[in-house]
């Protein structure tokens, strides 16, 4: 039953994406009046380009960017708003802390992959502390003990070992990414899923599927609840480039190896 519904959702999404890309094509060439060159053009400036990122699939990416805008507007944001309306702030914070704590598993595996000893110990310490003293991750006492959070993922691991980011890629639902980070996302999801299936914490109930589905859904809602970003909200006509540049730059800076001090 669930699988049928899921297939249905996927089909609707594909249809929506396709219709959006076609709509994009249909709107060009409407105007029949002859074009007149603009007063200023790119040729008159002798300067370096800036905020530039490799983006050979810009047309596709802009379509996905727009797709995500509509998904946000008609699905995610209304859901997040209802969630915020019905859930007390204290509870929202506990839920976020809980998922943050689960995320430490991903941080730990990836800091191990990068052979970062101290960081791995810190992350392990955080996970153990918050899972016990922090009552199953509902609170974050580790930060007040001086154990700082290190966000890691497989995309960063690849970057650490020298893989370039590859072209920019906007993923449906997930948003800004790159070829490398998309691969990383797949690996991280696989590892998390593998660990989860091996433990199968709700297997004993004989009814684990709906529980797992609820946990995943709530995770998604919580993630979006914690992101203040809204597509096109800045109103800036070049927002796509600003987002692309900042995503790329932040990832590039954070995944690089530290340089030796002079």
């Amino acid at each position: 039953m669930m699988i049928v519904i899921r297939c249905h959702v996927i089909r609707i999404c594909l249809a929506l994406m396709l219709s959006l890309s076609l709509a994009g094509c249909a709107t060009t060439g409407v105007n029949s009046q002859a074009e007149v060159p603009a007063m200023h053009s790119i040729n008159e400036f002798r300067d370096q380009n800036f905020a530039e990122v490799s983006d050979p699939w810009e047309g596709f990416n802009r379509n996905m960017y727009r797709f995500n805008f509509y998904v946000d507007r008609y699905l995610f944001i209304p859901v997040v708003n209802s969630y915020e309306f019905v859930t007390p702030v204290f509870l929202q914070e506990r839920i976020s802390a809980f998922y943050n704590n689960l995320g430490e598993v991903k941080n730990l595996t990836n800091s191990l992959f990068q052979l970062k000893g101290i960081e791995s110990m810190t992350t392990l310490g955080r996970f153990v502390t918050n899972s016990t003293v922090g009552i199953g991750g509902l609170f974050d006492p580790a930060t007040s003990f001086g154990l700082e959070r290190h966000n890691e993922d497989f995309g960063k691991t690849l970057g650490y070992w020298g893989a370039g980011s590859g072209p920019y890629l906007v993923l449906p639902f997930f948003g800004p990414s790159s070829v490398r980070d998309t691969g990383g996302l797949v690996v991280d999801t696989g590892i998390t899923y593998g660990i989860y299936s091996a433990i199968d914490p709700f297997g004993f109930t004989g009814n684990s599927f709906p529980i797992d589905a609820s946990i995943t859904t709530l995770n998604f809602v919580d993630t979006r609840h914690n992101q203040s970003f809204r597509y096109y909200e800045s109103g800036y006509p070049f927002e796509y480039y600003m987002v692309r540049f900042l995503y790329h730059e932040k990832r590039d800076i954070e995944s690089g190896r530290p340089l030796p001090a002079d």
């Binding site: 709107t27 603009a38 300067d47 109103g235 900042l246 932040k250 340089l259």
Partner: protein, 425 residues
């Protein structure tokens, strides 16, 4: 994933060091430098406690129902305003954002929360220079004329009021604005004296320009401090960026977060001219957006070929580079002034510049008791002479702080308390 806040900060980067300030009065805002204060704003610990959630609704106003919007602005489905409302009868404050500000700009949200906490209804309005306003609420599509902007703003306020008046009870209307929004507030208040729809009881101007042209000249001068001048901003941008990322990689940082940005400031990564250049550059990046949106709306053929219809998936990167390389003077001389000359034959540039100034309505400002004005001794958008002019114009209605740069201290606890108190009296 993406942090809009980071977007704002990264558009500016950061600068030189915290000195302990001389004890001038009891004013505790800590950052002495004008540029530094402007970029860093108010350290989190010095912002007063504000409610995490307030009762708000986003308004999406259809100001010109017959307007057909260009396909690239498909996401623009009306003018966005944020409406915060009390359950009981209360005064309503309209707030106008500064240059480039949207209705949810952090500064506007902080002001909204502070006023909401004190029992006011609030409606925030984007700046007429913001794309959403140009596309959905500007009659001409050409922002920057104080008289026309005031008419546009008034129309929006009227529409917003019609949208909410069935839901709330209002005792009085107030008006406030910061930066260019403060200067516009003065013109809106004057218009209200004729239209009498709101009869604003109090009007607060925070860090206003006296003359828009002069203030923008101050900011353009910041960009002229970069090597090779303003037209080499791409080279400058890339050089600052590599400085920024190298600094990260040498240090032992956890992430590009506030701690990292603060270290950039304390370690003096950027020199004073570089800091100035970064402020000028972030302003240019904003101005470029305004020029592009206006050009698309008016089909003027300024940066986009005339009659070209851009689709939502077309690359805009060349337009981005072209628009951000244009100065305010280019916009004024080649686009803004010719537009008004066509409407008012014989108009001189100087006459147009003079009309974009508080001096053009000074007799009104001098006598109206409803005004209040807050600014800083070291706000770089004012000359010394203009600061003196404001002091003399507003007399006891002026509150001048010893430091804070341009808007850096707006969220500081004393400033917010003064603002709330002003509307309460």
């Amino acid at each position: 994933m993406v942090y809009l806040k980071l977007m704002f900060i990264a558009a500016c980067f950061i600068l030189s060091p915290l000195q302990s300030h001389a004890a001038d009065g009891d004013y505790g805002y800590p950052i002495p430098g004008s540029y530094e204060a402007t970029i860093i704003g108010t350290p989190a610990a010095l912002i007063p406690p504000l409610p995490a959630y307030i009762r708000t609704r986003q308004l999406e106003l259809d100001i010109f129902p017959d307007r057909k919007k260009p396909p690239i602005f498909f996401h623009d489905q009306g003018l966005l305003c944020t409406f915060a409302y009390q359950k009981q009868k209360a005064p309503l404050v309209f707030l106008i954002g500064g240059t480039g500000a949207g209705n949810q700009t952090p500064r506007l949200l902080t002001m909204t929360k502070a006023l909401y906490q004190a029992g006011f209804h609030v409606i925030t309005l984007p700046s007429p220079t913001h794309s959403n306003f140009i596309v959905s609420a500007s009659q001409s599509g050409i922002p920057g004329d104080l008289t026309e902007d005031a008419v546009d703003l008034y129309r929006v306020m009227e529409a917003a009021w019609n949208e909410v008046k069935g839901d709330i009870e209002v005792s009085d209307f107030h008006l406030g604005g910061y930066s260019m929004g403060a200067t516009q507030a003065a013109f809106v208040a004057k218009l209200d004296e004729e239209r009498r729809l709101f009869n604003f009881r109090k009007v607060l101007m925070i860090n206003p320009s006296v003359s828009l042209y002069n203030s923008v000249t101050r900011i353009e001068e910041l960009l002229q401090q970069i090597p090779g001048g303003a037209k080499k901003q791409g080279i400058f941008f890339n050089r600052m960026l590599s400085k920024f990322s190298e600094f990260y990689r040498y240090g032992n940082f956890v992430a590009v977060n506030e701690n990292f940005l603060y270290t950039i400031y304390t370690e003096k990564l950027f020199s004073r001219p570089e800091t100035a250049g970064l402020i000028g550059l972030s302003y240019r990046i904003g101005l470029g957006g305004m020029i592009f949106s206006s050009d698309v709306m008016t089909n003027s053929g300024y940066v986009v070929p005339k009659n070209r219809v851009l689709s939502p998936t077309d690359s805009l990167f060349d337009y981005f580079l072209v628009s951000t390389h244009l100065s305010f003077y280019d916009y004024f001389n080649e686009y803004f002034y010719p537009h008004f000359l066509k409407q008012r034959p014989g108009l001189t540039k100087q006459a147009l510049i003079d009309s974009e100034s508080l001096r053009s309505i000074e007799s009104y400002l001098k006598t109206s008791a409803k005004f209040g004005m807050m600014t800083n001794e070291n706000d770089f958008i004012l000359t010394k002479e203009e600061l003196d002019y404001l002091k003399q114009l507003f007399g006891e209605r002026a509150r001048i702080y010893p430091r804070g740069g341009h808007l850096g201290n707006l969220e500081y606890k004393d400033n917010l308390a003064y603002m709330v108190d002003f509307f309460k009296k």
